[in-house]
Symmetry: C2
Subunit: 447 residues, 2 copies
């Protein structure tokens, strides 16, 4: 791989990206290219693309806009098959002429180009971090984004709380490699279990819908679409020049094609996390087990709003709960409010509850510093059947440790009951669509 | 102060609370009371309340429900004027008889009681942490909560990101000290600039509204009200036995009395943060300056949804921006998309923008690891006039450092553009209410 425009100046992107490729542990050879330096971050520098060895696979480009077409052509002639163009200054800056130059290179050489004006690519299974900030936590969600920052934000959160991602792709101006091609790739990627997208508009609407038809039956997809309002559309047209389109139309297409729509960056992240980890449950019944009465109420409020069901606790289960070690003050209903409880008491409650076919999802709300929460959740998850979701809040350092542990076990954890319930809704909606529409709609010509 | 039911067993609340009082740095004398131990956490133990020295101010009670009335009476006879009853097992567990016993003690002795069934009190100006987890970061927001976990969650977040709180009050079953008395207290508290409340229902509706009439002109208040849906109301009635009331009525009262209503725990926190830090601006115009095009679009989408204004960038300002050092690719509109920018370039842009009367709020979105962001925000804030709000995302470790710095300077920072805009909306709504209703409505008999 070549990093064209690598720099020893730590304020430059060409430095950050090279550093992240090295620190991310990319196992292949990395060639920094820069005419004015001889060594960067310990690697010998190639002065010019024409001096690169033949047969490089990938070029990461961080040179000024005017120089990009030239270096891409040179890289292609050295055998490069793909390029990530980080450099900005193209269509988004009114220079469609420069962008046309890149398109011409792609057309003439067959070089596949991601970008320009993008934040690069992370693909964790290959330990490729051609982006910033550095990301090393591997997980089951692939992020495809028309905003580098949105991608980096999801990556940062996933890293911070030990959930990880399989890939982060920042599309930028998308002159060649499109969101549809990437969707298709991740649908078949065994390292990816759910796909999160940030879109301002589809590159090619019909192709996008045709791709969704093939992808949704294989993998759940959640989208955050911006440019939904008058001012938002205006801003979107400045950013990636994409035509945002009428929001009602997009909303209708999401429902028709089974694309779950997130309302915020956080919801995009939460939804993907739940979709990637929860089983496809047959119904929408949620049983809440909590140490925090208030959080339990907030959870069922949110469940009611989103159309999830809160089944009553069966009398037999309530009677059996009285025979096991849970707090005497517990409120035997749904939510099951354990009041102040240990992880073992959660476990005791779940051992009883899971005997009854009472819920499709169990939401475990840990509202105190409760050590051992991860073990309790794991035991419930390993019993199979229902989806196990945790909300952990008000738990200080214990919370952080337990959240990290749960994520490493593939149990999704959310910072509030409201966000946990919204994430359940995402997984449930997506699973239901796939169940009801085993054959997705055939005619994408409505677009 | 006495901690009645202190324990050397680290699994017991009586241990955690004593530890937090000590580590929180409470400057007065602390007397652990326990009949079976002689020393706990280095403090000599008093075997029985009757052995306490005369003239203690406060009793923190963590003994089983049946023993609480007795120790409270004994504490009152040793001069205690106030008690925090952490213990549960009262009305919420069907034992109204035990709760009546506590009420009788309050009536007979004049002892003021917070709780029972609560998570205690933090009052940072006095370094009092009679709660858990430990909290030491002092800030301008007071939290009054009918859920201990919701209070602890806000405290944890405020601590984590260096924003801090002035107080956290967990009300529990609220047999004596009410949310209205605490509202009144914090309205007059010079250490508090905004009040965040989590409510399931008002203790005394009429008193609550009368209090709001007096408080809102002095301090902004935001409320998260749960029990809004059928299942939520049912759960609320189990938790604190409060009558949640019809949600439309509560909604109407909020609008009439100037109580800003948050939709989630995160929004409760964000709103209070903005209210406590932003000036009362005369209008609702928001100018967005961003390094992330996508984040800028999400911000204006959210602003449009919430009825905030996105003024056009005046031609003169756009012309002047061309004369200063900002990225050549910048999109000169609102949002002002700087693309990849340094903190100095934000500063250069703001130096120009703030010459024009174009906005009431500036939302600075830092969508990369941008060191020096805090200095740029501070310079803009210190120019006076408009409210300065930051969203910081996708910035890794640099983001954490800068966020902490901004909070220590009193500049509110949010993790996403959507949350930042919602927080601006909270501050704007509250300031507008106070401006338009300098005299709040007089007749609370509508309740």
């Amino acid at each position: 791989m070549a990093v064209i425009g690598a720099s020893s100046n730590p304020d430059k992107l060409g430095n950050a990206i090279l550093a992240n490729l090295i620190q991310g542990g990319f196992p292949g050879a990395i060639y920094p290219v820069n005419p004015r330096e001889s060594e960067i971050l310990g690697l010998p520098v190639i002065p010019d693309v024409s001096h690169l060895p033949d047969g490089i696979d990938l070029a990461v480009v961080v040179v000024p806009a005017g120089a990009v077409a030239g270096v891409l052509r040179a890289a292609a002639s050295k055998g490069a098959r793909a390029a990530i163009v980080i450099s900005g200054g193209f269509r988004e800056a009114g220079r469609t002429d420069l962008e046309d130059g890149l398109k011409a290179v792609a057309a003439e050489t067959g070089l596949r180009i991601v970008g320009p004006n993008c934040q690069g690519i992370n693909y964790l299974p290959n330990r490729l971090c051609a982006s910033w900030p550095l990301l090393t936590a591997r997980g089951p969600v692939a992020v495809i984004s028309q905003s580098g920052t949105v991608a980096a934000t999801l990556g940062g959160w996933a890293s911070e709380e030990g959930f990880g991602v399989s890939a982060l792709i920042s599309l930028g101006n998308q002159i060649d490699v499109s969101e549809s091609e990437l969707l298709e790739f991740f649908a078949g990627d065994p390292n990816t279990r759910a796909i999160a997208m940030y879109l301002e508009g589809a590159h090619d609407g019909r192709q996008f819908l045709q791709t969704l038809q093939r992808v949704i039956p294989q993998k759940p997809v959640v989208v955050l679409k911006s440019g939904c309002t008058v001012h938002g559309q205006r801003a979107a047209s400045s950013h990636t020049r994409s035509l945002a389109g009428r929001d009602e139309v997009f909303e209708g297409l999401c429902r028709q094609f089974g694309l779950y729509r997130a309302g915020s960056i956080e919801s995009l992240y939460d939804s993907a996390k739940a979709m990637a980890t929860l089983p496809a449950c047959p119904g929408k019944r949620v049983m809440v087990v909590t140490s925090s009465g208030g959080s339990g109420i907030l959870a069922v409020d949110q469940a009611d709003r989103l159309g999830l069901e809160i089944p009553a606790l069966p009398a037999a289960a309530a009677a059996e709960l009285k025979t096991v070690d849970i707090p005497a003050n517990a409120t035997l209903s749904n939510p099951l409010d354990l009041t102040v409880a240990t992880a073992v008491q959660y476990q005791n409650a779940l051992d009883v509850l899971q005997k009854y076919d009472l819920a499709d999802y169990f939401l475990l709300i840990f509202g105190d510093p409760i050590p051992g929460a991860a073990e309790a959740a794991l035991r419930a998850r390993d019993r199979g059947g229902a989806g196990i979701v945790a909300a952990y809040l008000g738990g200080g350092e214990v919370e952080k440790t337990e959240r990290y542990k749960m994520h490493s076990l593939g149990i999704p954890v959310f910072p509030t009951p409201e966000r946990a319930v919204q994430a359940i809704h995402a997984a449930e909606w997506s699973a239901r669509f796939r169940r009801l529409h085993a054959e997705p709609p055939r005619d994408p010509s409505v677009f």
